[in-house]
């Protein structure tokens, strides 16, 4: 059995709990058990982080020793795989949010590992590779895909795939797709992305590799001369079916942390902490537009039932927004407003920086800003009040905020401003933290904790304050005392009140670029970010600290976004819109794929009403808003390109077809590209090839 259905669908078939039991059994019975027996490979996004954390907790309770390795992209995965094949004691490999699209039973990935080893894939990205799902045999049996029920509906695809797989004698002109091994910043980066769409497995069969550059001209050879048990039509039908499965674009299923939560429930070990991580994974998927509002509502109602089930009952009349006692670490359901981090900076800022409000009111123009203050005034909030940090606002204003918004905001076109969500209490240690804020903080840490110098505003420094304002450089919470560098570059710029934090001396946060200290081991910036974010998931102080970073990030996104819209930098191609960033103060910031995706999403949200949707896909007739954003990374002369396919309605999502479009364009213009992350709609391309690439992208079939 290669894929695991979720427990409500599987009656007699093994499900998650059995797979988990298998891991435990292998761990306890294997004589070679050591620290590397169970390894978890984790992709760098919030959902995978939460899932890994939950799994780690379950393992810890069962006394299983595990190891977590962060993996940033396919290249890294290949490298790690080569290393892992040498480990004798490895018997379980768990992949979080990666590998769903890869053909895992093939010898290129995990086919050559020893038979006792099993690979569990918990990936929210769809579509998934059919041979990983359905492949049988020795190689196939060891790949276990934890599915959320969508694989059940792939019965047709399964038939088609099996028909094509087990067809009788191949002809001699079978196409072997070549896998160039790809390393680092090598220029010949052709086929690394092709494996994702490979659907064949062990050799001798006709394969159809989609998007392979070399074989552009070789289509399926005619084979009327060979006697076949399947007619041409049937074969075509099967092929078409498979093609439809893979070519429909990418979308997301149940979040990985949700899957692990289901496992915990099966094992009857679900508790509030695990539920919180599942909530974070779900909120991440919603706020980054990976799932639609409807699906979010479904999951949210399930989780709020769980909250009721797992929490001790609240005494009646208890106010829902504060911890009731110092040991209260529970979760409460609340309605979350769509403003970015609104509990942590001023109300005006929060509304200003949220992409939904920005779009509806047109924040980048002066007129829009006036509209915003007008709206706030109508609700009864005076300007000084809205410029106060939220915790200092008047209590009655805070209480009436949601109500007033519901009443008055529709006049400005702002509907659906709140959505049901959760927040976690931390006893008396701090104010309760909402899920959306936590997700923002953690993803800011993942993107930016190290490697880019970010200046953070000091509270009270605005409006002249007491001192002359200014910022201080953000440093990782708790790490600062260890780094007393002699570098004094910014010493002049510390404002007089910049010393009121725990750090006495100035710290230059350049861990990613280890310039002075040769004795320190060089660690890739994303690995460091990963661990900082991982630790922050459980540490409320670090998480609150990271919110400052997130705010700075949002400011930068707004700056860049408004300048793009002001300068009318958006070029409209035949089927999509392109923005290319080549200069600006924040350029190094936007050369991170995560940050660039956020900018793309912001632009889409902001311009949703101003731009008409286009019917882009050849499959459905629904309109969508395709957007491509490219940013120059000056240091390495590469452009990072992100493609976003947004829906015309707020709260809806479309399948992202840019992954395929990029591959298509790349093969046609022979650009040198690289996929640096697991998301196929993010691409790195050589500087010189960008213009040609963008042109071919337009000419592409439907894109």
């Amino acid at each position: 059995m290669v894929y695991l259905p979720p427990p409500d669908i599987s009656r007699n078939r093994p499900s998650y709990a059995e797979a988990y039991g298998k891991i435990l059994k292998a761990h306890r019975e294997s004589p070679l058990t050591s620290a590397s027996s169970v390894i978890m490979l984790v992709a760098p996004d919030v959902d995978a982080l939460c899932a890994a954390r939950m799994m780690a907790e379950l393992f810890r309770q069962d006394d299983v020793i595990y190891r977590i390795m962060p993996i940033s992209g396919i290249a890294e995965l290949e490298r790690v795989r080569d290393e892992l094949i040498t480990y004798n004691e490895l018997h379980t490999l768990i992949l979080f949010n990666m590998g769903g699209i890869l053909d895992l039973p093939s010898s290129e990935w995990f086919g050559d590992f020893r038979p006792g080893m099993s690979v569990h894939v918990i990936d929210s990205a769809r579509p998934q590779n059919l041979s990983s799902l359905f492949g049988g045999g020795e190689n196939g049996e060891r790949i276990i895909v934890w599915d959320d029920g969508s694989a059940e509906r792939l019965a047709e695809e399964r038939k088609a795939w099996e028909a094509l797989m087990y067809e009788p004698e191949p002809d001699s002109d079978e196409d072997d797709s070549n896998y160039d091994s790809e390393d680092g910043f090598n220029e010949s980066l052709e086929e690394d992305a092709d494996e994702e769409f490979e659907e064949g497995s062990s050799g001798g069969r006709k394969r159809r590799s989609l998007g392979d550059g070399n074989r552009k001209g070789k289509r399926r050879r005619t084979s009327e001369d060979h006697p076949r048990r399947m007619s041409r039509d049937e074969r075509d039908a099967h092929m078409a079916r498979l093609e439809k499965h893979y070519m429909a674009g990418t979308w997301h299923g149940q979040c990985a942390s949700g899957t692990i939560y289901v496992l915990a429930t099966l094992l009857e070990r679900a508790d509030i902490d695990l539920l919180w991580f599942a909530v974070l994974g779900l909120t991440f998927q919603y706020t980054t537009s990976r799932i639609s509002r409807d699906k979010y509502d479904d999951y949210q109602s399930i989780y709020s039932d769980e909250v009721v089930r797992l929490s001790p009952p609240l005494p009646p009349g208890e106010r829902n927004t504060a911890s009731s006692n110092p040991d209260d670490h529970g979760i409460r359901t609340t309605d979350e407003l769509r403003f970015m981090l609104y509990r942590h900076w001023t109300l005006y800022d929060a509304m200003f920086h949220s992409s939904y409000v920005a779009g509806k009111l047109g924040i980048w123009k002066e007129r829009g800003r006036k509209k915003l203050t007008g709206l706030l005034a109508k609700m009864g909030f005076s300007i000084p009040q809205t410029q106060q940090p939220y915790p200092h606002m008047d209590m009655d204003l805070k209480r009436s905020l949601v109500q007033k918004l519901d009443d008055i905001a529709p006049e400005y076109g702002l509907i659906e401003l709140s959505y049901p969500s959760f927040m976690k209490c931390y006893g008396y240690q701090s104010q309760p933290l909402s899920a959306a804020d936590a997700v923002e903080g953690v993803s800011a840490l993942l993107d930016l904790a190290g490697g880019v110098k970010m200046e953070v505003e000091v509270e009270g420094s605005r409006n002249g304050g007491e001192w002359f304002g200014g910022g201080k450089v953000w440093e990782i919470h708790g790490l600062s005392t260890k780094r007393r560098w002699a570098v004094e570059e910014d010493r002049e710029n510390i404002p007089p009140n910049g010393q009121n934090t725990t750090v006495a001396s100035n710290v230059k946060k350049t861990e990613g670029e280890n310039n002075a200290d040769g004795a320190k081991k060089e660690v890739a910036w994303w690995i460091r970010n990963f661990w900082v974010a991982f630790d922050a998931l459980a540490d409320i102080e670090a998480l609150k600290h990271s919110l400052n970073l997130s705010m700075t990030l949002h400011r930068a996104i707004i700056r860049q976004g408004t300048s793009i819209i002001d300068k009318q930098d958006i070029r409209t191609m035949r089927n999509h819109r392109v923005v290319v960033l080549t200069q600006g103060p924040d350029l190094p910031l936007f050369s991170h794929p995560g940050v660039l995706s956020r900018l793309a999403l912001w632009l889409v949200d902001a311009l949703r009403d101003k731009l008409p949707g286009k019917v882009v896909s050849t499959r459905t007739k629904r309109k969508s808003l395709p957007f491509v954003v490219a940013c120059l990374n000056e240091a390495s002369n590469l452009y990072i390109v992100v493609g976003v396919m947004a829906a015309t309605d707020f709260g809806d999502v479309r399948k992202n077809e840019f992954g395929l479009a990029f591959l298509d364009a790349k093969e046609r213009c022979n650009a040198r590209t690289r996929h640096s992350s697991f998301d196929t709609s993010i691409l790195e391309i050589n500087q010189a090839d960008l213009p040609v690439f963008l042109e071919t992208l337009c000419e592409g079939s439907g894109y």
Binding site: Q61, R269, P312, P326, D327
Partner: protein
């Protein structure tokens, strides 16, 4: 001995906590375990839902893995501590408390706060108790007598607190007394 300077004066509180963790405590196990031999003795069998007595360290370990519920000892309750606090405030001597109450209560409140009733009240009571007793110790130290001192009902943490100063002071007092008597 090769301890660093800071550790040579007395035992540290974590060490006291470690020693206190050997006490037996009652738990309600959620998993089954046979009678197993450990270094300090044989414990078990654990048969849910019957209660069992295990050392505190084992109870904490199981609790962290969510495999048991801890039954709070009867002195860790609001009524008991309240009555002791009243006694403390009214009488000059120290009231009777379990010898290692500070360590055990800290550990239990950290790990098993959901198994104990009204933890915030208990925390405040414990704090009050500590402050009351500390006040008494401070007064008592002024009447330091070189030959004998009897302080009954002090708990192990409090003894540990006083010990370095006390030993040193007694030594000096003896010294002074000896010098004084030789001069006569």
């Amino acid at each position: 001995m090769s301890l660093p300077q800071s550790l040579r004066t007395s035992i540290t509180p974590p060490e006291l906590e470690f020693i206190a963790s050997q006490q037996l405590i009652e738990i309600i196990p959620l998993i089954a375990m046979e009678k197993t031999a450990f270094i300090s003795g044989a414990f078990g069998p654990l048969q849910p839902p019957r209660r069992a007595k295990t050392p505190l360290w084992m109870a904490i370990n199981l609790k962290l893995k969510k495999k048991c519920h801890i039954v709070a000892p009867e002195w860790l309750s609001v009524e008991f501590l309240q009555s002791r606090l009243d006694e403390e405030l009214s009488e000059p001597g120290y009231s009777r408390l379990p010898f290692r109450y500070a360590e055990v209560s800290k550990v239990l409140l950290d790990v098993a706060s959901d198994d104990i009733q009204s933890t915030d009240k208990i925390r405040s009571l414990l704090k009050d108790l500590r402050e009351a007793r500390q006040a008494k110790s401070r007064e008592g130290l002024e009447e330091l007598n070189r030959s004998e001192l009897s302080l009954s009902n002090l708990s192990s943490m409090e003894i540990n607190e006083i010990r370095p100063f006390f030993v040193h002071a007694m030594g000096i007092l003896t010294h002074l007394h000896r010098d004084a008597s030789t001069e006569d």
